[in-house]
């Protein structure tokens, strides 16, 4: 029983933090939001240079051979930076799914390209109807509940679905009747589809942790600098207590996400409950952080010129991505209140593992 991260894991996430602070500096995000982003291609290359797209792929496929517990901190950093690139979908969701599907040559031959960022994948799933899509997308991974298709970009006609979060390039997609054979169907597809949904929800949750922390930090900075009635507004308890409540919400969402990540590949009731709990706890923390941050910033926060809205919009967006509140709350309710999950003080950790 050890609930800590290793030094290597922390080092990797701080390396990514340093890079993302450079790539996602507020002026960069502003350019994205004002549709004058000229750095997208460079950002993708820099992420690839750090090896981030292959974190969850084995060495033999050009990856790092690491685990979900390693990737979760990276997803958190992607959230903190409001990274425009769909790193999570490519590296956290599509890469492990394609690896599992690699008995099919169509998937196997893509792995190295995925790890190096040459292959750019968008992932659609019933829980993620609007796929966050990389610039220059080359392939689509279309997961139903019981069939998984891999299509090349020229084979599909995606429909743009512009988002309030300009950092997310969303496209809806429908499978047409002439689609090629699925990579998997039946029970094999069901398991892989469930893992796609698991990782989509988990890494969305992890991004929400990073976003919440970022918005809390921005609010504290602002509350220290902004003076009214002769003192920084952060010296008033009305402000302090609101921000402390955000800190509490975040502190207790974090271990829920970390524990659930150890169950990313599992599809039993306890694992699904842990993952839905993680998604709910993290999106709630991010939404409270966003709401509170806006209130603390006052009219400044409501203006385009102040950076807060980049992160706030991402938090709103992720609340509905990879299973919205209704989906996860209802699933959790049926599992926990319906008796499928063991209850009580000794039931927190997976017993059979």
């Amino acid at each position: 029983m050890d609930f800590t991260f290793t030094d290597e894991q922390r080092m990797m996430s701080s390396a990514f933090r340093a890079l993302s602070e450079e790539l996602c500096a507020p002026e960069q995000l502003r350019a994205v939001f004002e549709f004058r982003d000229e750095a997208a291609a460079e950002r993708w290359l820099r992420l690839a240079d750090l090896g981030l797209f292959g974190v969850l792929l084995p060495d033999a496929s050009g990856g790092m051979g690491l685990e979900d517990a390693d990737f979760v901190l990276l997803a958190e950093e992607a959230g903190r930076a409001a990274l425009p690139e769909p790193l999570i979908e490519q590296a956290g969701v599509a890469a492990p799914a394609l690896y599992e599907l690699a008995s099919d040559a169509r998937a196997a031959r893509l792995l190295e390209g995925v790890a190096r960022g040459k292959v750019r994948i968008a992932v659609a799933h019933p829980l993620n109807p609007y796929a966050n899509t990389p610039h220059g997308v080359t392939h689509w991974l279309l997961s139903g509940d019981a069939a998984i298709h891999l299509l090349e970009a020229w084979q599909v006609k995606p429909t743009a679905q512009p988002s309030i979060d300009a950092g997310r390039r969303l496209f809806g997609i429908a499978l047409d009747a002439n689609a090629p054979e699925p990579l998997a169907s039946g029970s094999a597809a069901r398991t892989i589809a469930a893992r796609i949904a698991n990782r989509g929800a988990l890494y969305t949750a992890a991004q929400c942790l990073g976003l919440a922390e970022r918005m809390l930090a921005l609010s504290c900075e602002y509350a220290k600098a902004r003076e009214q009635f002769g003192s920084p507004i952060g010296s008033y308890q009305a402000i302090k207590h609101e921000l402390a409540s955000v800190a509490v919400k975040l502190e207790f969402a974090r271990p829920v996400v970390y524990a659930a990540v150890t169950r990313a590949a599992d599809t039993d009731a306890q694992a699904l409950a842990a993952i839905s709990h993680a998604k709910l706890a993290a999106t709630d923390a991010a939404e409270l952080a966003a709401r509170t941050a806006l209130q603390v910033h006052g009219a400044m926060g409501y203006s385009w010129e102040v950076d807060l809205h980049f992160y706030m919009k991402r938090a709103w967006a992720l609340a509905g991505a990879w299973g919205d509140r209704s989906f996860h709350a209802r699933r959790l309710e049926s599992l926990v209140l319906g008796g499928a999950v063991a209850l009580g003080p000794d039931a927190t950790f997976h017993r059979s593992a």
Partner: protein, 397 residues
């Protein structure tokens, strides 16, 4: 390996041993409330039973009546303890608050004198922090300890002292240097409650029992050896009491997980006639209890890896006290017309346990430092927001 969330064979063995012992020894009928004289005696006897099984305080060294177990072992024991619905720990002020600081600041003689009797349930401890004019602003204490030869002479008035109505000893801070302003000049002293010059008067709580008391010190004389740490070091020791392990030890997650489980069972029984919106509140109770458990394991792992816990204790306190209150409010809503019934009511069923738990949970955001004080601490010490005019002290009961 990081994020290794599995128990070792030794930890599983400890769980099995605790479970077997508790199944044999936990009283089959709930004890009377420990806030009253009869229940206090029953709980004192239960502490002795625990000690005979060597379960008094497993994290302490063997020579003081412990097992030398670590914090993860402690959490496992607590999970089994609440799973077995074992009685509340009447000596928690001693075991969880004073014990750790005695271990850190006590002399060898003090440790040998006090810890084994504490672990054995032979001496039950009360805390004596607050005074009529020193509640949240604890540094405003006025009670004094004046040195005369080999003794301190204590004068003053402590209040809201949990367990003091029936306990044997209390610990608190006294002003030894009247010229020392606020935090300075305070000394941490251990005082027997059945002692000349010490007068205890129970205060009835809203449930009618004397769950806390006021203590009058009327020239009570205690030896200098009852001082913990150095003269003037009292504030620092009291801060430590509030400090590292306290956030973990005061309220075990298992307590809330057991309560969440009972709430789900209540929901399953009552759902036919219940407001469907209550399902979300029941679920929230389960989620929060799980989150608290996970965070506690995370904190324990960090401490075992050499880390420390500071202002995180305030985050903990806010979270568990608010989850406990919400959980019990939900139970009261679910119980509907039965919620108000006392155990003597023929239709009461399990409602009185919920009512008692509800009233107890209402105290949570107040004791151990109000949640308003905790939020201020979080804002200033964790988030770095500027302090308002007055210097802050320690806030706990």
């Amino acid at each position: 390996m990081a994020l290794d969330l599995k128990f070792t064979p030794e930890q599983r063995q400890l769980r099995a041993e605790a479970r077997a012992w508790l199944e044999r020894h936990v009283p089959s009928r709930p004890l009377h409330t420990l806030e009253g004289a009869q229940g206090f005696g029953e709980h004192r006897e239960w502490e002795r039973t625990l000690a005979r099984g060597n379960w008094g305080m497993i994290t302490w060294p063997k020579e003081y009546g412990g097992r030398g177990a670590n914090l993860i072992d402690w959490l496992i024991f607590e999970e089994e303890y609440y799973r077995a619905r074992a009685p509340l720990r009447v000596n928690q002020n001693g075991l969880f608050l004073l014990g750790p600081v005695l271990m850190e600041f006590g002399t060898a003689e003090q440790k040998a004198r006090f810890l084994p009797k504490m672990a054995a349930g032979e001496e039950i401890w009360a805390q004596a922090w607050s005074e009529p004019q020193a509640g949240s602003d604890l540094a405003a204490v006025r009670s004094t300890a004046v040195r005369e030869g080999e003794s301190y002479v204590l004068r003053g008035h402590k209040i809201w002292s949990s367990r003091a109505a029936f306990a044997d000893w209390c610990f608190g801070i006294f002003r030894t240097d009247p010229s020392g302003a606020r935090h300075r000049g305070l000394t941490f002293i251990l005082v027997p409650l059945k002692h000349p010059g010490v007068r205890v008067r129970g205060i009835r709580q809203i449930h009618g029992e004397p769950g806390f008391a006021e203590i009058f010190f009327e020239e009570a004389r205690v030896p200098l050896t009852n001082r913990l740490g150095a003269e003037g070091e009292g504030w620092h020791i009291a801060m430590t009491t509030a400090g590292f392990e306290r956030g973990l030890l005061l309220r075990s997650p298992a307590r809330f997980q057991a309560a969440a489980q009972r709430l789900i069972e209540l929901w399953q029984r009552e759902r036919a006639g219940a407001d469907p919106a209550l399902a979300a509140r029941v679920l929230e109770a389960w989620m929060d209890a799980e989150a608290y458990a996970l965070n506690t394991y995370r904190t324990a792992s960090r401490l075992l890896a050499g880390g420390s816990i500071g202002v995180e204790a305030s985050l903990n306190k806010i979270f568990w006290s608010e989850l406990d209150l919400k959980l019990h409010q939900t139970a009261m809503t679910l119980l509907g017309a039965r919620a108000e019934l006392l155990a003597t009511a023929p239709d009461a069923g399990d409602a009185p346990q919920w009512l008692e738990g509800f009233m107890f949970s209402l105290a949570g955001p107040i004791y151990a430092g109000t949640n308003e004080i905790q939020r201020t601490l979080v804002a200033e010490r964790l988030l770095g927001l500027p302090r308002a005019g007055v210097g802050h002290g320690l806030y706990l009961h």
